[in-house]
Subunit: 205 residues, 2 copies
């Protein structure tokens, strides 16, 4: 007997799955979570990686202060609660991108274990790939660069609770990738990440 | 004279642009904002459209209650303020997807002009494509379907402020697409949207 009901809904007999989106894109969705001091080079590496992956035909999207703090999180300040909520929302957004098949590049100081672990758990709950990348740069070096003049203001007391000055940076214990920025060039840093993605099958050669 | 500075930064001499991501994907990022009563068929149409676009090799991502209300917006309830914040955040997330090159399909009742117009304006501020799709279904028809049994509960007073019962649904005045669901099949609804996307150059034939 013909199942008339089924023929009525053949247009949406199944949702497009993450696997199908991954197949369409020729990559696996994943979150690359850059963490490190202000001035450590997180965004610089993310921008260079984005370029390298684009040249390989891979789709990435960077989440950073420009499009998150000024957009969805513009109603958050810098209190402890708001910082935690800031990272939580970014983690949830990254997760949506992973689910869409995109490689999300998140560049935020994200100084606390608890917040980063929460984002890792969010991904784990859905069997999504989460790659923590510790952009390891000494405070002295980051402060000497001070690209936005923020350390100077923090030292002068004009900014309170600044990571590395009067608020702690909790170094990742077991990041998937540890970039010792004093020992390598930007090209090397990008290559390390690309090699990791190849090795994990996130992208293919 | 050689510009040494420039050679030092050649890895990130430019960010990957939205135009480049669109080129990679063979489509333009856009938000398709489905609005209509509970039970009007928003999600059903979005699922069917997703399938039709996938078959054309296009990348879409659906934002709906399952991945938004249970994820990034799980700390929001149903007060007037929380409803507005719910839609604001969804609009900001949709905008991030547009910026990534993805066609975002948003399926939420979004009953108020003010909230929908805010999302439209958010997109307009960045010259992003926003397509409001009014899934026009009579209250009688939606209530007769009542797929989740919500109208029954609302009529019994077990759910307060339910759109169409004791909270208004403000019909879109000038939606880009108006689907009169009593006059067309699901296949026709999907075709209307696909034709619109083709006509606007969001996707190519």
């Amino acid at each position: 007997m013909v199942d008339v009901k089924a023929t009525n809904v053949h247009w949406h007999d199944g949702e497009v799955t993450l696997e199908e989106r991954n197949h369409l894109l020729g990559q696996k969705g994943a979150t690359l979570w850059f963490t490190g001091l202000s001035g450590s080079g997180k965004s610089t590496i993310a921008v260079a990686l984005e370029k390298a992956l684009y040249q390989r035909g891979k789709l990435t999207y960077r989440l950073d202060g420009d499009n998150v703090r000024l957009g969805i999180n513009k109603n958050l300040g810098f209190s402890a609660d708001d910082r935690t909520e800031n990272i939580r929302r970014i983690g949830e957004i990254a997760k949506l991108f992973v689910d869409s098949g995109v490689i999300a590049l998140s560049s935020f100081i994200s100084p606390y274990h608890a917040d980063r672990d929460q984002v890792r758990q969010l991904h784990r709950d859905s069997n999504f790939v989460f790659i923590e990348i510790f952009v390891d740069c000494s405070l002295a070096e980051a402060e000497s660069r001070d690209p936005k003049g923020l350390y100077k203001k923090a030292r002068a007391g004009e900014i309170k609770n600044f990571t590395g000055i009067d608020d702690p940076y909790e170094e990742p214990r077991l990041p998937e990738i540890h970039l010792r920025t004093d020992q390598m060039s930007l090209e090397q840093e990008v290559q390390i990440i690309v090699d990791y993605l190849l090795g994990q099958g996130i992208i293919a050669a």
